[in-house]
Subunit: 350 residues, 2 copies
């Protein structure tokens, strides 16, 4: 029988952050695609759109007018998934019918007043302003008694359920620690207690030694395709220092994160010369007042595109019932991302 | 402070099968939708399509000709995610880089030779033939030494990554038990050992007592919106008897399952008068030779549509990083599904 190699043979890889496996099928990349095509959103946006509810000075769906802001602007989501009101009592209780009220706050962050931009097209110093606001929000929301977790994320592109091209992200701050964060925390803690070191610190050191999946690194952060990545071009940005959250950033680290964010998202856009859709978000220490020494700042990028600007990977059927599955190997994706220029493709056409 | 009620207040519910929570935001159903619209696939298909690689007598992408089959037809997937070949040795080993070869077989099941049909439009006796084939495949694949799990599922509709409207499902049989099945098994087992009864049996009894989320039931099966459903119209079909897998079905149970499958999928089509997309699949005992006494046959339906035939729920951002989230409550969805007629909307227009 042939000797296993991960470029030809179906295999499973273990995700130590979520304690679960994914199925990798390198031999399947050749299958023809006759399924759904996504729209390639190539429209050029104006710097100001009178119909955009995020543009400065415009009136939102609930009648509130945005200020004539410049740069970053944060406000409470008008149609949030959470409410700040405390409610008492629980309707029913039974081992199989467990339900509890949840309190929280949803915030929207406009990354820029310029409607036409996206992160990769913004200047590094302007991305740094976004990071400043992430810090403030994490600190202020996290300081509230009833907020034990602050989830910072961005949905980019219509295919990722984003309903407005204006550059923006969201924050959902809430009283409970969400399931995937709890799970990640448990696994980080297990490793930390066993090895007395941060799981992600050890992981980054080993990735640097192997140098097979690194997309970019600067003095403070590394962007790589995780060994256990599930989405075709999934990546993770990890801080080189073992820091629990973004409040610990030095000024230098803030600049480095802004830089690597710009470079990684530019590479994404350059893969298919399109505004590359993704959901991205930060995993860091919960704000529950715990020690959380096992936590290590990192940011996940989950982009759906697979073969072109219009063919995405569908996480359906087997993936919903059994486990994640990918065709392209993480090493192949890292190779593609690594080789791409860090100059945005739109600059060529200017 | 107001007293909690699950129709007005944001809350979390616990999913005892996966040991995770979901966030429910009933107050959010009113938010306006300006995002991506899906295509409403209203084309009428012919009973035979010369370009379909699943129609009888046609030639598939790899040059193989389908037989002139009638009824159900099963064959090995030409572009499978798994291979039957055994491979030896593992390339690397490190606590954070765990990888192992995986062996398996992918099968495709055409539900009918008639290209124009879908499950809700098939006769009950023809759906029963599909169930016969599921039984045979589960038995025969499961009997192979190296197959420890057989995942039976269907992706329906372009929005669920299905590349061909010809009615068909898939089977992925493999040497490992996939992550979500392992997780479900652990939770079923915990309950079984503690209570000496099947979790799903107790759950069904309690749902019958409450009668708030039941969509349909016959003598042998119940279709309901789980208390912890994540997708807007997510449902589950559970056998009333505590049976581990579909090999234990009586003739009567096969007929009952065919009937409830037809009724549930018809109700789905009737919600928005469209061919309702979903991923559906069976969870049952692994074929690993274990006792698996805690397992209880059930089938999950994960449909993406939310407000209309063209507006789906996006499980992105918060959902990918934190936990599942829904607006409509499970009780509201069950109410909609329960009230819909069991006669297919297309019959009205005939
Ligand atoms: O096998 P198909 O129908 O070509 O492909 C579809 O179902 C598979 C199993 O759920 C998924 O892995 C694919 O992403 C999806 O497009
Ligand atoms: O809040 P938005 O952008 O309107 O909505 C989008 O992001 C949310 C958070 O990830 C999801 O729950 C929604 O399904 C998605 O459409």
């Amino acid at each position: 029988k042939p000797t296993f190699n991960n470029r030809d043979h179906p295999h499973r890889r273990y995700n130590p952050l979520l304690d679960e496996w994914i199925l990798v099928s390198p031999q399947r990349a050749k299958r023809p695609w006759q399924g759904q095509l996504e729209k390639n959103h190539h429209e050029i946006h104006n710097q100001y759109d009178p119909d955009c509810y995020l543009c400065a000075g415009n009136i939102r769906a609930n009648g509130i007018q945005n200020p004539y802001y410049k740069g970053v602007y944060v406000f409470d989501n008008d149609f949030g998934s959470l409410l700040q009101d405390e409610v008492g009592g629980v309707e029913e209780f039974h081992e199989l019918f467990v339900i509890k009220p949840e309190q929280g706050i949803n915030r929207v962050i406009c990354f820029s007043d310029d409607h036409s931009l996206t992160l990769p097209e913004m200047a590094i110093r302007d991305i740094q302003e976004v990071i400043d606001v992430w810090q403030d929000e994490y600190t202020n929301l996290g300081a509230l008694d009833y907020i034990n977790h602050v989830q910072i994320f961005e949905n980019k592109g219509a295919v990722m359920g984003c309903s407005n091209p204006h550059p923006h992200g969201q924050i959902w701050a809430q009283s409970s620690i969400p399931s995937l964060v709890v799970r990640t925390g448990i696994n980080l803690k297990k490793y930390f207690e066993k090895n007395k070191r941060s799981l992600l610190q050890d992981y980054v050191l080993e990735e640097q030694r192997k140098n097979e999946r690194i997309v970019w690194e600067n003095s403070d952060f590394i962007a790589l395709v995780p060994f256990w990545a599930t989405w075709p071009y999934e990546t993770m940005i990890v801080s080189k220092r073992h820091i629990k959250s973004l409040v610990e950033f030095t000024e230098q680290e803030k600049k480095s994160l802004a830089e690597i964010l710009k470079i990684l998202t530019t590479k994404y856009d350059n893969i298919f010369e399109t505004s590359f859709p993704y959901s991205a978000g930060i995993h860091q220490a919960p704000t529950d007042g715990g020690l959380n020494a096992e936590w290590h700042f990192h940011m996940h990028f989950y982009p759906p595109l697979l073969r072109s600007a219009t063919v995405k990977k569908f996480m359906v059927g087997y993936e919903m019932l059994a486990e994640g599955q990918r065709d392209l190997t993480p090493e192949q994706s890292a190779e593609v991302l690594k080789r791409l220029p860090i100059d945005h493709y739109k600059n060529k056409h200017k």
